[in-house]
Symmetry: C2
Subunit: 216 residues, 2 copies
DNA sequence: ACCTGAACACCGTTCAAGT
DNA sequence: ACCTGAACACCGTTCAAGT
């Protein structure tokens, strides 16, 4: 069902993805799609999940712990990029989906695990995810922007349960969140975008300066 | 005329920017906008230019040559970001406009000049623009993607004239293009996106590794 | 339970007609 | 030269009606 939408967007562009056209592509002759999905938004959400699941599948084929974090992380990100190159509409779509989906959580969680294993502090992993930004998933990430799933009322009721589930499913992301909450001065600037932007900017500027000096 | 479109997009979001609504906002009671602009696309192009011109104005207020390139470049980029934060729709719009506009050329040309002045080789400046990517103008740049202005036939006829104009208006960008064309092995990978992506990725990974080692 | 067609409120855009 | 209203071909979505 969703695969057809992905294929149509690949072939004709995301602008040509219309409910009528999608129905036509599926043989079914009209807008009876609304018996399978609630919204066009739900279709777009599903497409994002399809791409993320492709990325996760592709990326998990990368060779296991070779002892050195950098080549593994590097190859994973390049593999993710390869998948995204097949779906030019995907980065913009992923960015537009309000907050992080399960697929994105899984992606960033394993990536965080590799960095932790490579000797990064939880705080540095946090900064790293921001700094990688568009290079990690092809779009400028606003990590942990809003609450990720469920409305706030729901989150309040089953808060404890969800926290446990989250800790089980995404151990490394949970660690980062915990770390940031425990950290006193980090609470104010909790995922402060300005801070993260400057962190990434300085990382690049410092790196460029070093390249200039070693090359000349 | 275009300022109204920018204001409307700021207030109600880019999705609410419709020709009918824009006309209503302008007092004029109907779609007589088509006597002032050809397309909605032309409106969007104009809005991009307005934002870019704001950015250039804002950024050129940054203190002149203080001898050190890094704080100047840093402050310029942060200033550009401030303007973009006022227009959340702008990054996506700038990215969607096919290729580089005059405003973007001017922005990148002065930025290139500052880096050259800071001792960067033309080639390293080129890489730097790619590496800065979304941090330079809020979106993932595909620099020099297609021919920037005019169709190909036009470019062939007045090629020499345009080259001279370009050299006058954007001296630093011209230098980078010349450098890349003279460079033998650079011709094959001329703005090869894969190469540039890996350059930026390695820059970040190396920087993170260094941070990990200095902090622990 | 699933599909359908007509209909509604919206788009961008065109075009003949007004001043 | 500028504005206007009706109209066209398209959206996403609803809803009463079919099997």
């Amino acid at each position: 069902v969703l695969r057809a939408a992905v294929g149509l967007a690949d072939d004709a562009g995301i602008a040509a993805l219309t409910m009528r056209r999608l129905a036509q592509e599926l043989g079914v002759e009209a807008m009876s799609l609304y018996h399978h999905v609630a919204d066009k938004n739900e279709v777009l959400d599903g497409m994002a999940e399809v791409v993320l699941s492709d990325i996760n599948d592709r990326v998990n084929q990368i060779a296991g712990p070779s002892g050195d974090w950098k080549p593994v992380v590097r190859r994973r990100i390049l593999a993710a990029r390869e998948v995204l190159l097949d779906h030019p509409w995907a980065p913009a779509l992923l960015e537009s989906r309000a907050s992080m989906s399960a697929g994105a959580m899984r992606y960033f969680d394993t990536l965080s695990g590799l960095l932790r294993q490579g000797g990064f502090s939880a705080d540095l992993v946090h900064h790293s995810l921001h700094a990688l930004g568009s290079r990690a998933l092809g779009f400028t990430q606003e990590l942990f922007g809003a609450d990720s799933n469920g409305d706030t009322a729901d989150a309040d009721e089953s808060g404890a349960l969800m926290a446990q589930q989250m800790a089980d499913e995404y151990p490394h992301l949970t660690e980062i969140v915990m770390q940031a909450m425990h950290d006193a001065d980090s609470t104010l600037g909790w995922c402060d975008d300005q801070t993260e932007f400057e962190f990434g900017l300085d990382l690049i500027l410092d790196g460029l300066e070093r390249l200039r000096d070693t090359t000349s």
